[in-house]
Amino acid sequence: MELLGIIWVSLRVSLAATTLAALASVPLGFWIAVREFPGKRVVVVILNTLFSLPTVVVGLLVYGLLSHSGPLGSLKLLYTPAGMTLGQWILATPVITALTYAATKGVDERVRPTALTLGADGWQAGLMVLREARYGLLAAVVAGFGRVISEVGAAIMIGGNIRGYTRTITTAIALETSKGEFQIGLILGVILLAVALSVNLFVHAFLRARP
């Protein structure tokens, strides 16, 4: 039962973080791809660099933000799943934004004019571009999910690895490993992979249903 609770916390936090990140990052990555503005290349380079943002650094930053002595201390989000969601959101955002940018760039450049000349307004034409990029977009979101469900640094620093509350699969692995329970750690690792596999199968089925 405790194991189910751990899987549930992992899934809830990572799915919420990925979803929230996707809501912000998909439009953002799309916007960066279709608009020309000064410093665009710099932005893209920064985004790609943030792929390598260490999870513990994010954990540290968010701890500093959410700590009672920090600027957002009054929200009392430290050592809560919501706080972990915030940390993972920060981790997923650059991944999804950069991959959305790449996916949008990869869409045939005739899509937008074709939609426009058939009478689409700007918003509808943009949606068509997104629609043509949807495989890439889903890959972006799945990559973001993969980044957050497998990370331990932010989860343990912001969540505190509280049993039955903020303990996730990865923090449980870290704990069991530190206790020398390597076998349990490995089993948890396999469970994490199984969870990730289920999410990917679900996404794949979603795509297959709409060719």
Binding site: L15, L127, R134, N161, K179, G180
Partner: protein
């Protein structure tokens, strides 16, 4: 024939995403606002030994409070409390605790229990630690012999005690001294791999000794006492802390009933902690 062509599956997907996002956000914030939580910052030894898992359900059921255990080293636990990110601490580093209270971060420090540090090492005992007259002598043996010593190196209570012992013998060894920078278990595994000596609390050693080829080579010295105290975070400094429930927890933890249960908690047939909160009645 009625057709229902779907052109914008993405639009639906997007709407679903928005819906899910809102639901997740709401539930996440609901989690955050759940009342009746008490944040206890403590050391890995109390959590990983299973003691808290053994004791806490009684408290949680009796007072309808959830205790969130944040298990870190003593140094970090005190730091969290200093920042107001915990309601109380259960730690084992008397000098740091005293400084913590002196600086006004904590109030109502109470002794809870004791256990004991032991020096473990390879069965062959190349440094001849076994049979030393006291703990300082044992450490000195390690230093003199040049045997490898693994230190926690993480400002934990164990690390504090180790440093105090080294201070008695003119400082730590200059070579063959490895700072693990990790928890007790990790340090023990490292010592095992290197067949080195290390200082550990008895509870953690008992919990993992099946996996180790290390023996207790020195024990039972008052110098190696490991007292645990509970301290509430000073509500004068951090008004937002759950002070009343923290005091309730302290009362419960130091009550005769809980103290008796601490004594009954065993691993491998050995009690890990000796209650220390209730003064033994003086012999008549």
């Amino acid at each position: 024939m009625e057709r229902r062509p779907k052109i914008f599956s993405l639009k639906n997907f997007y709407l679903h995403s928005v819906g899910w996002g809102l639901i997740s956000l709401l539930t996440a914030s609901a989690w955050a606002k759940e009342p009746g939580r008490l944040k206890l910052a403590t050391t890995t030894s109390t959590e990983n030994s299973g003691l808290l898992a053994y004791l806490l359900p009684d408290f949680e059921k009796r007072f309808d409070l959830k205790v969130d255990v944040i298990a870190v080293g003593t140094g970090k636990a005190l730091k969290l409390a200093e920042n107001g990110d915990a309601d109380l601490v259960l730690v084992h580093a008397p000098e740091l605790e005293a400084a913590f209270v002196r600086a006004g971060f904590g109030v109502n420090r109470r002794a809870v229990m004791k256990n004991e540090f032991v020096i473990v090492g390879p069965p062959a005992d190349p440094a001849r630690v076994k049979g030393s007259s006291d703990a300082a002598k044992a450490m000195s043996q390690v230093k003199q012999s040049g045997a490898v010593f693994v230190s926690r190196g993480d400002y934990s209570g164990t690390h504090q005690k180790e440093k105090a012992l080294w201070a008695l013998v003119q400082g730590q060894p200059e070579k063959n001294y490895l700072e693990a920078g990790q928890g007790m278990e990790a340090a023990l595994f490292m010592a095992n791999e290197k067949q080195a000596y290390t200082l550990t609390d008895r509870g953690t050693y008992l919990a993992v000794m099946d996996k180790l080829n290390l023996l207790i080579l020195f024990e039972h010295d008052p110098m190696l006492d490991n007292p645990y105290s509970v301290i509430a975070v000073n509500p004068g400094r951090h008004p937002h802390v759950n002070y009343l429930d923290a005091m309730l927890f302290i009362a419960w933890l130091t009550s005769p009933e809980t103290q008796a249960r601490i004594e009954t908690f065993q691993k491998h047939g050995q009690a890990l902690f000796r209650p220390a909160a209730v003064p033994q009645p003086a012999p008549k």
